[in-house]
């Protein structure tokens, strides 16, 4: 209404599928990956005053775990079903998870595309689907009024259990994906992220872009998507999340109804471990731009990593704490080398990446590279400055209430807890874990785990010296 930015709608979201380190697919408009990165850093902190939302867990009649938070204030709810069906399951067909996800919320056995969307919009609900490397999901936001909720959940159920996989939708979606891939060639962010994942992950399933490759996507058939769906969108591979103004009984009834009849199937197998990088790997991607994008990266941590807290808290000092991090200070505040500079761990099912990145004017590329390396090296060698560590902890702990101040955010972190099997008291114990981290632990963990000398280094820009 007042000011909106709703141009470039659908296809541009597709372009962003898994393209970029922190600009990936969305759950209800929320950038999950970025939220991931933040949450990891931030679930951390729990002030006594804020309290954490109480998560209840049970299983549906057919055995799917349900994670539920009662949020009675606004007459609406968020409902999600999440599968281990991200692009890490693409196998030799990069893009297949994204394609499959995109086909689910278009038409169903009973309803063609126009009728499906019309029925959905008659409820005022928003139904979405998306995927990242680890997970794929369907999500619904609806009013709790049964006049809206009942038909909305029914439509979500139809999308989940009886998607039509029509040729019409398949052909259109594949074309949009191909255009998206082509369009990514014009984005230094997307080019850099793709190169980084390739360099870090080699033959690991995380290596390929979530948006797929032109060759693979061109060769897809609707049967490919159907068999991916049948393999991975099954009860034993699912978790459910409910946040909203539904009491427990209503939530139980709704989730049972949503997944009734979903085949049991099999859980997805564990992903292979990620190998550490053995030799330095520098990649130059030619791109006609004024700036060079510098991206350093290596395998980082899994959700359950024993070094999780030292690394994540340490990174908050190094490059995670917005404008007060060491990298921001040295690169931007002291030298004006980059508008944006940061580092982060992206914990995933198995080691997700550690990334440090900046963008700078081509003539200053070498200077920026040197400073970036020097700051990271000093951090690894010396550990965090004590005052900065104390400040980072205060930021993480004191900022906790902001992480859970609305239903969208609560749903995001309950999704992480549910999908990655984190304990239900994960949040309540998090501040203690953060508080307990010492400078010596951080120094030790960085020394063992972060290896500047073998890091992949991606440069997107012009190689010609100006």
């Amino acid at each position: 209404m007042w000011s909106r930015r709703k141009s470039m709608s659908r296809w541009h979201r597709k372009v962003r599928y898994g393209a970029i380190m922190r600009n990936c697919a969305t759950i209800s408009g929320i950038n999950l990956l970025r939220v991931n990165a933040l949450l990891i850093l931030t679930l951390v902190a729990l002030t006594a005053r804020a309290g954490s939302p109480r998560i209840e867990r049970w299983a549906t009649a057919n055995g799917i775990p349900v994670y539920y938070v009662h949020a009675p204030e606004i007459p609406m709810f968020d409902l999600r079903v999440v599968f281990a069906a991200g692009s890490a399951r693409d196998g030799a067909q990069p893009g297949l998870a994204s394609l499959t996800s995109a086909l689910l919320t278009e038409d169903t056995a009973a309803l063609g595309v126009d009728d499906f969307h019309a029925a959905l919009e008659a409820t005022g609900a928003a139904l979405g689907a998306g995927s990242l490397r680890d997970m794929a999901w369907l999500s619904l936001r609806s009013l709790t009024d049964p006049k809206a909720a009942t038909p909305a959940v029914e439509l979500m159920r139809a999308a989940l259990l009886s998607p039509r996989f029509s040729d019409e939708v398949f052909v259109r979606t594949r074309k949009q994906m191909l255009a998206g891939i082509k369009s990514e060639e014009g984005s230094p962010d997307a080019l850099g992220a793709k190169a980084l994942y390739r360099a870090i992950y080699g033959d690991h399933p995380y290596a390929a872009p979530t948006s797929g490759t032109e060759t693979a996507v061109s060769a897809f058939t609707v049967a490919d998507a159907k068999s991916f769906y049948q393999r991975y969108y099954v009860a034993k591979n699912a978790v459910l999340i409910v946040v909203g103004a539904l009491d427990r009984m209503a939530a139980e009834k709704m989730t049972n109804e949503l997944v009734r009849g979903l085949p049991d199937g099999e859980g997805a197998p564990p992903l292979p471990a990620v190998k550490a990088l053995a030799v330095p790997h520098a990649v130059q991607i030619e791109f006609p731009a004024k700036q060079s994008h510098l991206i350093l990266g290596q395998p980082g941590i899994a959700r359950q990593d024993p070094d999780y807290f030292p690394l994540v808290v340490g990174n908050h000092v190094l490059g995670g704490n917005g404008t007060v991090s060491l990298l921001f200070g040295e690169i931007r505040e002291q030298r004006g080398l980059s508008y944006s500079v940061s580092s982060y761990f992206e914990p995933m099912a198995v080691a997700g990446p550690f990334v440090a990145t900046l963008q700078t004017d081509r003539p200053r590329q070498e200077e920026a590279r040197k400073v970036l390396h020097a700051v990271i090296k000093k951090f690894i060698d010396d550990g965090p400055p004590l005052a900065a560590l104390a400040a980072a902890k205060r930021n993480l702990i004191g900022g906790f209430p902001l992480r859970i101040d609305n239903n969208s955010k609560i749903a995001e972190y309950v999704t992480l807890i549910a999908f990655y099997g984190l304990p239900l008291d994960y949040l309540t114990t998090y501040p203690q874990h953060v508080a307990a981290v010492t400078a010596a632990q951080i120094k030790d963990a960085f020394k063992r785990r972060v290896h500047l000398e073998t890091m992949a280094e991606i440069t997107v820009g012009t190689s010609a010296t100006p």
């Binding site: 659908r10 804020a50 005022g124 255009a179 731009a289 917005g322 004006g336």
Partner: protein, 465 residues
């Protein structure tokens, strides 16, 4: 916010512009359960500072924003980018704080902060634990009056801003194209200027320019304080009076009037980009918004603005809207096709269409198809069923938008700062509900004249190898 590239903030933070939701529609089919949020309230200090408070006690957090009535559309030729550059400098020294201390204080207490500049306003915000409300007031009142502009810091920050421009405009095919299109769409309106500033203007920017800008516009009577969250209005009154009350009112001269001249015929341009891989179409029409109501010859009426919003949703309000049904599906002509309408700007603004043709189709075909959709609304009113869908969506959106404190604060502030009564947010759904199909047809006829269009084809540049 006007466009992605005309809205720029201090660092790549997490401000979620999505929180200002696109809301279409209304109470047609009214749902039984309806949330009643706390009413929004406003008061003013003796020095002219307006304070708008929305209590929301769901979580012990608060969003605090200071909106200054100054932005890129206040700037003159040769001096573009000043508002945004000043925004960056507002995080440096004050008479009481060292450079960067502001951010350190906020981070230290678990807060998030950022700022953003648009054509119409410059806004600073913190979101944090509600018990930091007083500290926000203290910090914001300090930099409203005590900024110290240091030459060395300015020199460094200007480099940062130039990097920001390279990152977000020069090296982005779409943003650069949009900047070019806006400069061609507007002849005399300041909306032709990029918020971040033209490269040459950044290069020649001087610190005294920013000092003058600060002294001219950063006065309490030119600012609006918006507070949404776990607060009590009485306490906000007390704090605002304590911290902002002593700041003297100053005469703030109005911006130069630079009305857009009447457009004399269609404008058309082709932009080549060496970074673009998929061609794009941009199509702009100049239309009035809420600030035009009661002005013009004949005077613009309020219902026209709501009817334009309904028209927008008819074409591009979800997967059942006409663009999705006809252009993306149906004729399978477009990879994407979208529309936007800037209805809450200070000056006359745009109703814009954008799209990308599918392979095998041309920009000309897509242009013709979008114009045909407009023509269809001119020749016959939309179906009542289409309006019903739009109205249902607006009811739901009104509920959903209560979920975000920041979103609520953004909506209030963005209306108030351009001189609109923020109360129109509360009657919005009702006003949309009252729109009938004939009114949609009427605004389609009145405002979408072919000689008022600016049409841009953005095409991948030919490679010279």
């Amino acid at each position: 916010m006007r466009y992605a590239n005309t809205f720029t903030h201090r660092f790549a933070g997490e401000l979620r512009m999505a929180s200002i939701r696109a809301a279409w529609a209304t109470l047609f089919f009214s749902f039984a359960v309806f949330a009643t949020p706390q009413p929004t309230q406003e008061f003013a200090l003796a020095n002219g500072l307006r304070v708008i408070v929305q209590e929301d006690h769901r979580a012990p957090v608060v969003a605090i924003q200071v909106w200054y009535q100054v932005g890129a559309s206040y700037e003159l030729d040769g001096a573009t980018g000043q508002s945004h550059a000043l925004e960056h400098m507002m995080f440096k020294r004050t008479k009481t704080l060292k450079s960067g201390e502001f951010s350190r204080i906020v981070a230290d207490r678990g807060g998030r902060e950022n700022a953003f500049t648009s054509a119409d306003y410059t806004t600073y915000f913190q979101t944090w634990s509600a018990d930091q409300t007083e500290l926000s007031m203290q910090l914001e009142s300090d930099r409203m009056q005590n900024l110290v502009l240091d030459p060395a810091e300015f020199k460094n920050e200007l480099k940062v801003i130039q990097e920001e421009r390279r990152l977000r405009t020069d090296d982005s095919a779409q943003a650069l194209a949009l900047e070019t299109v806006l400069a061609h769409t507007w002849q005399t309106s300041p909306y032709r200027q990029p918020v971040i500033g033209w490269p040459a203007d950044l290069a020649q920017m001087q610190l005294p320019d920013l000092a003058a800008w600060y002294h001219r516009y950063y006065a309490p009577n030119n600012a609006i304080l918006v507070v949404v969250g776990d607060v009590e209005i009485a306490r906000i009154k007390q704090l605002a009076t304590r911290y902002f009350g002593p700041i003297p009112r100053r005469e703030v001269p109005p911006p130069k009037a630079r009305p857009e001249l009447p457009q004399r015929g269609e404008k058309r341009l082709t932009i080549a980009s060496d970074k673009l891989r998929v061609p794009l179409l941009m199509l702009n029409y100049k239309v009035p918004g809420f600030t035009a109501v009661g002005h013009g010859q004949p005077a613009t009426e309020a219902w026209e603005i709501y009817a334009l919003d309904v028209l927008l949703a008819t074409l591009d309000g979800g997967d059942s809207a006409r663009f999705a049904r006809h252009l993306v599906r149906g004729r399978e002509l477009a990879l994407s096709a979208g529309a936007s309408y800037q209805s809450a700007s200070r000056l006359e603004d745009l109703f814009s269409f954008t799209g990308a043709p599918r392979e095998g189709h041309t920009l000309a075909e897509l242009e013709a198809a979008i114009k045909a959709e407009i023509a269809a609304l001119q020749s016959s009113p939309p179906d009542p069923a289409e309006l019903a869908r739009i109205k249902i969506a607006v009811v739901a959106q009104e509920v959903y938008q209560q979920d975000s404190l920041m979103g609520q604060a953004m909506l209030i502030g963005s209306l108030a700062v351009v001189g609109l009564d923020w109360r129109i947010k509360d009657s919005y759904a009702e006003r949309i509900q009252a729109i009938n199909p004939q009114q949609v047809q009427a605004v389609a006829k009145k405002y979408f004249q072919s000689d008022q269009a600016t049409i841009a084809y953005v095409v991948p540049a030919q490679k010279h190898e």
